[in-house]
Symmetry: C2
Subunit: 185 residues, 2 copies
DNA sequence: TTCTTAATGCAACTTTTTTGCGTTAAGGGG
DNA sequence: CCCCTTAACGCAAAAAAGTTGCATTAAGAA
């Protein structure tokens, strides 16, 4: 007998998680996020609603779970040959993704989680890793790398702030202005 | 007959809105935000649930509505005699309020609204007005006022970012560091 | 006061969410 | 390989939340 409570990762459990995530992603393209329901997702995934409720608790948790997966970067930042141009390219793509209706919805889902969760922190980690990659690459080239936390504070934070509060249009020009301000220091 | 659809502000309508808001605020102090329900609020406020559903649509809309009210500043920023010390005092109080569990919950409620709404923008406006007051006061003193949008980008945005993503402790020292960076320009 | 109608209360109805219990299958040991 | 334990699932009944039609109340204007 083992005293540890084991979680089960493989097999049926994983299959169902994949099916449910897929169902959410499919439905998200077909209808407004506000009219998606748990029974709807369960039917699409071929499972009973009670399974979804037991595993994820409620809709907002499930949506947040899916959102984190979709916000996870699929590739390293492009290597353009220079640190600042790497950063600019990354920032414009990040801005493009986050300011789109889909990106905004994902951000809301991640941030809207009620109970305790480390999901928002996890998304930060994604960004930190991407910026860390750019900085490390710069160091390998012999450039003086930027400080990741400074880039987060004065590039990522303003971008995300204006996107989620919707109080200002963000575009390539704004990205470049923020980066120019970082370079100037 | 008037062709305009009129909304009714005074009397019963206002009384019910106040009662419902009060009920939400009361319940928020008594239990976790996640277990508050519309029927519960309605019972506390002495109205029927259907009234709440018709006026606010759903729980998240109602919570967001209440949150905006609570995020509205009740007074102008303190006048400490100098622009930067005004800003520092304001920032520390803002940070204190937002990083508290209550403040975080309010932020989530405002940001978590699904459908279209100008609530997040409205909260930005509060901040802009407060900062505008400090800047105007500085100008009246003969000081060169800061640009409000720069303070939002490089003080408010980093603060809010780290609070909602929970990836870093924010404290008085961090506020002062951000302000020092603004002054240095 | 009287009229119009937005907003509410009530109750029936639909949908979602919870819960108890039997069944299935992952992971470990013999 | 088969058996055992139990986490995770399906099913169905029950509870709770959310919706809707209709009668009633009370702002706001004539």
């Amino acid at each position: 007998m083992s005293t540890k409570e084991r979680m089960r990762f493989g097999g049926r459990s994983a299959r169902i998680q994949a099916a449910v995530h897929q169902a959410v992603n499919d439905l998200s393209t077909e209808m407004d996020r506000a009219e998606i329901t748990v029974p709807m997702i369960a039917a699409r995934a071929g499972v009973t609603p009670s399974t979804v409720y037991r595993r994820w608790g409620d809709l907002s948790e499930l949506m947040a779970d899916v959102a984190v997966q979709r916000l996870r970067p699929i590739a390293d930042p492009a290597d353009t040959g220079g640190m600042w141009s790497d950063l600019e390219a990354w920032a414009e793509q990040y801005m493009e993704e986050m300011s789109s209706p889909v990106g905004q919805a994902l951000l809301r889902d991640v941030l809207g989680t009620l109970g305790e969760s480390d999901r928002p922190e996890q998304c930060c980690q994604f960004t930190n890793e991407q910026l860390g990659t750019i900085a490390a690459r710069a160091a390998a080239r012999g450039e003086t790398p930027f400080r990741v936390d400074e880039v987060v504070d004065h590039l990522v934070a303003p971008l995300v702030f204006h996107i989620i509060f919707n109080d200002r249009e963000v575009g390539p020009d704004y990205c470049r202005a923020l980066i120019a301000r970082l370079k100037a220091r």
